[in-house]
Amino acid sequence: MSGDDAHWKGVGGDDVLAAEYVLGVLDAEDRAAAAERIATDATFARRVDRWEAHFFPISEAIDPVDAPASTKRAIDSVLFQTRDVARPVDAEEPGWLSRLAFWKTMTFAALATAIAVGVASNLDRIGEQRERPPQQLAASLTSDQTDVRYVAVYDRKTNRIGLRRLAGSAEAERDFELWIIPPNEAPISLGVVPKESGIAFAPPEEIADKIASGGVFAITLEQAGGSPDGKPKGPVVAAGDLGRI
């Protein structure tokens, strides 16, 4: 805080500081300091409350604006981590699988349910995939919560997954593990992600068809060596749905 604040301190400075906080004129650092005081100093917190109440009528000038329906759904998915299976997916909602808001704090159970719901209402696309499986698929793996970014490509003919790291890495003593979540199924581990920034490897032949039929690639943060029991334990740090190139 600047030098002239000492001058104001003796003249009911605390109360004026509370008013400045409520008005919002303080810079980021001073705001944080004031917020800290609100949490620890009940007298200061009451001063802030009083100024909030004084200034509140000014907010009548703010017009209400309807928020989009997606906002409430995102709030519910963060707070309650469930997706109502009985509720059909909105047919007009474009590419919902790629809307990262749903992946913020989703557990795998919720993610798999969400995929099941989406698949159930897109029967035409599944039929098409069964007739003409694509030879090459790609996924961009990202997350709103982390800075981890990978790009994955899959080539059915050679059964090769290419994985390139763009940003982010696991901490010491922890590993990234890559999973494929086929439609309507539990996640299948594709192994621990090596530290190199670009790798190519061949997944087991028996799951090649599963990968080729699409689904979600996800990376979780696990203990060193990966999850001990073949089920994801740690949080999802990046994910993306496999699509045709």
Partner: protein, 179 residues
């Protein structure tokens, strides 16, 4: 919506009543979205901020009963503070501030006129006792989350001068409000 109804909803939410939370959202989200839009001036930022505000409301509902505020005042305070925190976190190139260098318009802004059509609140009467440009600065700061740096640039004065003006105005307001 009546204050009593909102109070009841918030109390139920503090007991983790999800149905009450849904009702509170449907009754209040438009107003709080307006608040976030006004401060952030960016639709997708405001949508994210609104999500975070309602998560905070769910988590802090038990704190309402120990605050001195009415339910709408309490909720708007949470929304404004969160939006302003987000605003402060945006990286702003310093060149932007010098471009905003303007002299304040001394005639009352639209916010003052809007308030005069509503029932007279004490703040309304007390703001009217300030110089018009000071009153406008106070209301603009409240509505838009202007920082001292932005206010100083807009009024064409050094930051310390703006601080002195605003603090004197706040002390006058307090003296008036406590009469």
């Amino acid at each position: 919506m009546q204050g009593d109804d909102l109070t009841r909803l918030i109390v139920r939410i503090s007991l983790k009543d999800r149905a009450a939370f849904d009702v509170l959202y449907s009754k209040t989200s438009a107003k709080l979205f307006g608040v976030c839009l006004r401060v952030l001036n960016n639709r997708s930022d405001a949508e994210e901020a609104l999500q975070e505000v309602y998560v905070k409301l769910w988590e802090k509902a038990d704190r309402f009963s120990i605050s001195d505020q009415s339910p709408m005042s309490w909720m708007i305070a949470i929304a404004r503070n969160h939006a302003i925190d987000r605003l402060r976190q945006r990286r702003r190139p310093t060149a932007e501030l010098s471009e905003a260098f303007e002299i304040a318009d001394p005639t009352p802004g639209p916010e003052v006129l809007a308030m005069q059509t509503h029932e007279r609140a004490r703040i309304d009467a007390c703001l009217a006792e300030l110089d018009a440009d000071k009153a406008s600065a106070v209301q603009g700061a409240y509505l838009n989350g202007d920082s001292y740096a932005e206010l100083a640039a807009r009024h064409g004065v050094p930051m310390n001068t703006m601080r002195t003006w605003l603090r004197r105005s706040l002390m006058k307001l307090r003296e008036c409000l406590e009469r």
